[in-house]
């Protein structure tokens, strides 16, 4: 286990015991990443805040949901944030035209997106590794991956939007994850 993951596990154990200080420290470590992810998926600051609030509350109320034997805390918590963000987007889709949302891939206008976010050193490195691994995917693979992960779209929706068979979406998605897995495991 990497040192940064051990730090998260130690904080999580304190959280299970009801330590508010551990909650604050986990917030300091992960709120910026969580909020950035939620904003990119939902495209709305108010929705992103709601998502991150709910995710941290879920962590506080049921910290036992994370099992350190099954992976890094980072993966668990960011998956929780992502799942809630995607749920939010799918609910919102019922209410309004998604095209009216802010462009997902653009930073907030008039703000420095990273202002106030102090990344841990290991995160700076890992972010770069992830972005490089994404850049190494084919355009087709990256497209379906980003539509699914950041766009909150199902594979059926992706197939319809791109006008390609569902099987092709599955193939490209699997190939993309397999390639990312190889690249990221190599840099562990």
């Amino acid at each position: 286990m990497r040192e940064e993951d051990r730090d998260d596990v130690a904080l999580h154990r304190r959280l299970v015991a009801g330590d508010r200080g551990a909650f604050d420290e986990l917030y300091r470590r992960w709120a910026g990443t969580a909020y950035g992810l939620a904003y990119r998926v939902t495209g709305q600051q108010v929705l992103a805040q709601d998502v991150v609030h709910d995710a941290f509350m879920a962590l506080w109320r049921a910290p036992e949901a994370f099992d350190e034997a099954r992976g890094a805390f980072r993966s668990f918590f960011l998956a929780l944030v992502h799942h809630r963000a995607v749920d939010t987007v799918r609910r919102e889709t019922r209410l309004r035209d998604r095209s009216a949302r802010a462009a997902n891939l653009e930073p907030l206008t008039g703000e420095d997106p990273a202002e106030g976010v102090v990344d841990e050193a290991f995160l700076v490195v890992r972010r770069q590794q992830v972005r490089e691994a994404l850049a190494d995917l084919s355009d087709d693979q990256r497209q379906v991956l980003e539509m699914a992960y950041f766009g909150g779209k199902t594979q059926v929706q992706i197939a319809e939007e791109l006008g390609i068979p569902l099987g092709t979406v599955k193939t490209r998605t699997f190939a993309a994850l397999r390639k990312l897995r190889a690249a990221l495991e190599e840099t562990e």
Partner: protein, 233 residues
Amino acid sequence: MSDDHASIEQLLAGYALDSLEGADAAEMDRLLDEHVPDCLTCRRTLEAFGSVVGDLALAAQPLAPPDTLIASLRRDLEPRVRRPGPARLVAVAASVLLVVGLGGVALSRGGDGGGPITQLAAQDLQQALSLAERDGATTRDLGPATEVSAEGVDHFYLYGTEVPVPPAGQVYRLWLVSGAAFRYLGQFVPAPGGEVVLRVEADPAGWERVLVTVEPASAEPSEPGEPAWEAAG
């Protein structure tokens, strides 16, 4: 259905991305029950894809959350004190946002006919979201909801998704309250799908709290009961 690993791995990839639906989602559920627990290969693949997807979050630009977020979290970590009252509360199962603008429109007492509450179409939700995006807008929690206010706006919005329909014969009622004083703004019920989009011509400035209660529709609104959702005004 066959359990060949080529097709299972494709499903695992879609599952890790939360992008399955329909028959694929059902098949994944079956595999998670019947196959994956006893298949070391699939367990390792699922774990690895989960880790990769967790790392994908790092591709998003980190953003500093608004200061109100940690403040609302710290408040919500405290035990909540509930007051007894004649009107029963209902739980709101999903997110509901109350968008509050500050302004100075005089209110007429009333409900869903000529009063300050106007039921909007679902597609008008963007009006509320646009208000929330304005400079000077702030957000705060209202129980399971989030309240957003913006300076210089003479109305506020109430909107939500999957808001439970109140029990038969009951409605939600919206109030402004300060100490023993109160002002009734009107009543509403969500659409059958749980959607609520309201525009309320009211100024919560100067009031201590904004309340939503659940009360019998047949009863004349007299005074607010126990709040279903509440926020300091």
